[in-house]
């Protein structure tokens, strides 16, 4: 037995990669539909959006690149579906240079699906560098950093922007982010202007931002694929559109494989440990 564990500890790491790959591919063929229960921090965003009235405005800041699409895009789509369904208007920026096109694509796609019109139901201001300065500037006036929108239109010419000066004219800021820009929103939007802020972040970032949720600096927090799946369930997204929910099944199977590997690794470590 000891020899087996010694061999196990010396196993080529590429076998682990292969096992992980197989553990992910197999569940693609069997959808079980494991239950997903909404947590308090994710429900807080859903409830806040549900409490909005038609015509209210939310500020939306998607900041993720193609690499993090599997985790963050389902959150973004679920959120946009919910706000558009409530006839809530959206003013958005894309302050992460590699995510601007994705931000625009998401907004256009969801607006088309929900029958929303550009300039009346939503506005995309686009990108400007130095995100923290831009965030601070927008607290004074959106037009300071964005005299024109992403498409080059004069912001004052857009019907939705009439009477919309800065964050205080919006009900909340929601950022779906995969970058450190999340800190800028906490520090310079919530910290400086005291606007209710919610974040959707990648799983890797989630533990860092729970401290801000606990302290009340964030009123809601979605972490990784699990958070996205919870939100999809609450919004009522079904079938192939519920991408995070479908992925969570595969994720759970892969987690099982990882847990078995961790247990085996620990067993091997303790079984082969030399006595002092």
């Amino acid at each position: 037995m000891k020899e087996f564990f010694q061999k196990l500890l010396k196993i080529d790491r590429r076998w682990i990669f292969l096992i992980t790959g197989v553990a992910i591919v197999i569940p693609f063929f069997f959808f079980i539909g494991l239950p997903i229960k909404a947590t308090r921090e994710v429900r807080a965003l859903y409830d806040a959006v549900e409490a909005l009235k038609p015509g209210d405005v939310v500020f939306y800041a998607p900041e993720y690149d193609p690499a993090t699409i599997p985790e963050v895009q389902p959150m973004a789509h679920a959120f946009l579906r919910q706000v558009f369904r409530k006839n809530v208007r959206v003013v958005a920026t894309g302050l992460f240079q590699l995510g601007v096109a994705l931000a625009e694509q998401d907004l256009t796609l969801m607006a088309k699906e929900m029958g929303k019109k550009y300039g009346e139901d939503y506005v995309f201001l686009g990108y400007k560098p130095y995100p923290e300065q831009v965030i601070l500037n927008m607290g004074e006036d959106f037009r300071k950093s964005f005299p024109t929108d992403y498409y080059g239109n004069d912001v004052n010419a857009l019907p939705m922007m009439r009477g919309l000066k800065n964050y205080s004219d919006t009900k909340m800021i929601v950022s779906m982010t995969a970058v450190s820009g999340a800190d800028y929103w906490i520090r310079s939007a919530h910290g400086r202007y005291n606007i209710p802020l919610a974040l959707g972040v990648t799983a890797v970032m989630a533990t860092d931002y729970y401290t801000y949720y606990q302290s009340g600096q964030l009123f809601a927090l979605m972490g990784g694929l699990k958070g996205a799946a919870e939100y999809e369930q609450m919004v009522g997204i079904k079938g192939k559109a519920a991408k995070a929910t479908l992925r969570m099944d595969i994720q759970s199977f892969a987690h099982l494989a990882i847990i078995i590997l961790v247990i085996l690794g620990n067993l091997a470590y303790f079984a082969t440990r030399e006595k002092k």
Partner: protein, 227 residues
């Protein structure tokens, strides 16, 4: 299944090859992986440069500057903005010239650093110290009470946060030897840190697997598109 164009098939197939090039690193480092890596860096930089020009440099500086030069008229505020930015940009570029002229680039750097520090230091103190401390000082009714709120449903969590924060800080206090009660507190701090690292590791595994799932979905969709 919606119809797809040849162009879409070609671009998606190219993306598939790049995905496989990146995955080939799992076996070992190789030239295909290097090609994919360099293409990502090159494309990202090229994309960003175009974005900076189109969304920032042109509307915020070039267009107002053109209005000024061509005599179309510009407000006093914008004129100052255009000229000051021009001067500091030239100063910054003088770094490339070298010698005494390069020293002028420090003026531009000084403005950037000075403004950033002035704006961000108070905000950082507010966000990372004051608000976080407030999260540890809990209320007892309406009166600030620096202990566990016994009437709260989350009393246990509150206690955990306070004990975890204090014992974690004790572990990083190196001016006193970790012995006796203080040593015990520091040891408790290690436990809290380890649990924190464990949670982070778990979330990281989840995050990385999610990305892998996304890529495999992409490969599956490509196969469906081709066949």
């Amino acid at each position: 299944m919606p119809e797809v164009s040849y162009v879409q098939v070609i671009w998606t197939t190219l993306a598939v090859f790049f995905t496989l090039f990146i995955f080939s690193f799992l076996y070992k480092d190789n030239p295909l992986y290097k090609i994919a890596e360099h293409v990502v860096v090159g494309v990202s930089n090229g994309y960003w440069m175009i974005l900076l020009f189109r969304d920032t440099f042109k509307p915020l500086w070039l267009d107002p500057a053109w209005n000024l030069v061509s005599g179309k008229g510009l407000s006093a505020e914008l004129t100052i903005f255009v000229l000051v930015n021009l001067v500091f940009s030239v100063f910054m570029l003088l770094r490339l010239v070298g010698g005494n002229a390069a020293l002028l680039s420090r003026w531009a750097m000084a403005v950037v650093l000075g403004v950033s520090a002035g704006v961000l230091i108070p905000l950082s103190v507010q966000t990372y110290m004051y608000e976080q401390l407030k999260g540890n000082v809990l209320t007892f009714g309406a009166f600030p009470f620096p202990f566990v709120s016994v009437v709260s449903q989350t009393a246990f969590n509150n206690l955990l946060i306070i004990v975890g924060s204090l014992s974690g800080l004790a572990y990083f206090f190196f001016s006193k030897e970790h012995k006796g009660v203080f040593g015990g507190t520091a040891k408790l701090g290690i436990w809290f840190l380890m649990i924190g690292f464990g949670a982070t590791f778990g979330y990281t595994v989840m995050g990385r697997l999610s990305l892998l799932i996304g890529r495999i979905e992409f490969l599956r969709d490509w196969l469906n598109m081709i066949f």
